[in-house]
Amino acid sequence: MSDRERSKSRDESKDKPEETAEVTAESDTDLEALDDLLDEIDEVLEENAEEFVKNYVQKGGQ
């Protein structure tokens, strides 16, 4: 379940309208933060994911 869906189902279970509004506002901020975060991570992601994952081999561990 995504954050948005979760907050929706949580909203439906609430009976005080002002609390519902608050929760929704907070979760929109969360989603924006997540979008921002993904954009930032795109910038630093290892360039060739296939190559990176393929070459990541760690033998001889405990």
């Binding site: 954050d3 630093v44 992601l45 001889g60 561990g61 405990q62």
Partner: protein, 489 residues
Amino acid sequence: MAIHKVLGTETEYGIVVRGDPGFNPAVASSLVVNSYPGTRVKVQWSYEEESPGRDARGFGHDTYGLIDAEGAVVNSVLANGARLYVDHAHPEYSSPESYDPLEAVLYDKAGERVMHKAAVVASETSGRRVSLYKNNSDGKGNSYGAHENYLLSRETPFGDVIRYAIPFMVTRQIFTGAGKVGKENDRPDVDFQITQRADFFEEQVGLETTLKRPIINTRDEPHGDPAQYRRLHVIIGDANLSEVQMFLKLGTTALMLAALEDGAIPDPLDLSDPVEACWQVSHDLSLRRPIQLDGGGSATALELQARYLEWFAKYVEKELDEPVWNQLIEEWERTLSLLETEPMQLADTLDWVAKKRLFEGYVARDGLEWSNTKLRALDLQYHDVDPEKGLYNRLVARGAMRTLYTDQQVEDAVSTPPQRTRAYFRGRCVSEFAGSLVAANWDSLVFDVGGSHLKRVPMMEPLKGDAERVGALLDEAEDAADLLRRLEG
């Protein structure tokens, strides 16, 4: 009364040399350990052993012009009392003995900093980017450890430790896991699971650490007076990046062991099949899957952890009413309660939840399948110790993870030992008498101060050698020979 739970961690880091897929991991690990630029003494570890450094022999492939295979130095003691060395194919950092779980978190984090500093220099000297990862699996069936060590009383029957610790270790995974895309080791398919390590555990009890890994490892090497102490060597945990999560992992486990020694665990909570339960708990993102209990009936990992919490909150109130343990109980309560109601709210404290939020974001935004290689790359990169590349570190920089220590505190812990354990004596000797220190182990230091014999200083008591006992003596000593005279006098 339970003995004081002195504790520490040992972490094998994953290693990659860019642009050289055929790199030899033992050589690269030696390069990293040799490159560490901070204060340290390259020593022979364990005076009695023949020559532990010989592990680095015969790895001739490409030594980046740096390592003489014969003379490779793969062991060192740092100014914070830690050990930095090569364990077969991985660079490893063993934290100094810490006084309590909060301090143990600090010194574990200092290890990430040590590794990063070493990787930077290793990259410069080799002309290739050397990256280090604080994780436990390569996603291809190879695992490497993040072990925890707790001081136990020799009086506690080991059979009791096994019986009481197994259900605790299996169920604590819900808040100790670092998260992983996919499964390994022939376990059933899964998109994402709570832990890195669970798939690899195949026995309840045993001496092995590299194959047929047991939930309880029986290595009996107390690193202290064997008549009084044991050391529980826990191999089932994940390496954590999150400080709060590490505090929970180390704190609840130390508390469980203290309660066990004090006979304060009312029920062992025996599981029918702990080995199966181990990976099943890790694979169950709903946190609702019942575990069969040996005496009949079943309970979820969360329910069993709630029982421990209830017992140990009372135990702390009665026996351990100190700020660190009260903070632990509060954090534990909050964590279990959110795992029950809104687990995603723990994205700022639990590595597995932070990853899940991130990966779900990618799945939603880019329409990725969970089997997409990009998610595996993200999974690995979460653990990169580089502050720029590591995704956990990026989350911290954005204020998206709750931390317990400032950057400066972690930096200070790289060069300053804990004050209340014997690591204090070891660390200060590294800082001040490096030229005379020839060998070290957890429970002794060996000095060469001229003369026909080396001088050995035993440290069989983990809580002695602390600042209060030897601080003034170290301040006053003019050199190592003077220090030894004062110790004898």
